[in-house]
Symmetry: C2
Subunit: 130 residues, 2 copies
DNA sequence: CTACGGGTTAGAGTGCACTCTAAGTCAAGG
DNA sequence: CCTTGACTTAGAGTGCACTCTAACCCGTAG
């Protein structure tokens, strides 16, 4: 798979793919005889996982750490697990915080709805009096 | 309340408070006779709400929009409500996405735990054979 | 043969949200 | 009077994660 196809299948831009490779988030791609990047489909699984980490707010430097451990092989699995467990805790905490904020938003929105109600009631009264 | 106290009570830095005022997120502060900012406690409620918006990922330009509507008074309440409702939807969607990612993390972590299990079993067998 | 559509690189530029610097003012305490 | 520390401003700098530019190369279809 050339970079153009990977762009389509991964959702990343070619710029971003090369950038990720440059900083070490993606392994150095194999090249065809003319020097162009030639990807194995398995890269898609990795990119998808990176996307999960990114969505959950993991900074690139932590992803790099994970990628480096992964590159070092099986011996680093305990460390990788610990890294993910810590991250999971942060994500859980963040979700809890967001849910808290959602309650505040609900209250605020309900307050505005209340205002609308009061306007309607007020208008109704005005109408009656006319 | 001077800026120093607001720093302590709001958690924002003085730099950030002045920056927020400059861009219009905070209303222009009253000044004492020597020109220093003098805040009313009510500003804390507003800052707290801004923090909620920020935590939930609202970009500053949207907060500015909300702040501008607020400054225009009661007539903009329907618009503000709509803005918050849209935002709430985005936050809900984001929370759902995060929960999805959490499941992926759980699976991944369980996979590593599985590896540890297999190592233990393998070691146990080795011990038996010895 | 040549145009075209892809690819290549190093490095510059972007947008966001701060964060800090430099140089100055001001009021109270010793 | 002088120091201290909190405040003031305009504007520069930071860190992140891309995103794009310029100038180039390569293989194939017409």
């Amino acid at each position: 798979m050339k970079i153009g196809e990977l762009v389509k299948r991964s959702g990343l831009s070619a710029h971003t793919i090369r950038y990720y490779e440059r900083i070490g988030l993606l392994p150095p791609a194999d090249r065809d005889r003319s020097g162009q990047r030639d990807y194995d489909v398995s890269i898609l699984t990795w990119i998808e996982f990176l996307n999960r980490l990114k969505t959950t707010g993991m900074p690139i430097r932590d992803m790099l750490l994970y990628a480096a451990l992964r590159a070092r092989g099986t011996e680093t699995e305990a460390e990788r697990k610990a890294l993910l467990e810590e991250h999971r805790e942060r994500v859980r905490a963040h979700v809890a915080e967001l849910q808290d904020c959602l309650l505040v938003l609900d209250t605020k929105i309900a307050g505005y709805a209340g205002v609308e109600e009061r306007i309607k009631i007020h208008d109704a009264r005005q109408t009656k009096r006319r």
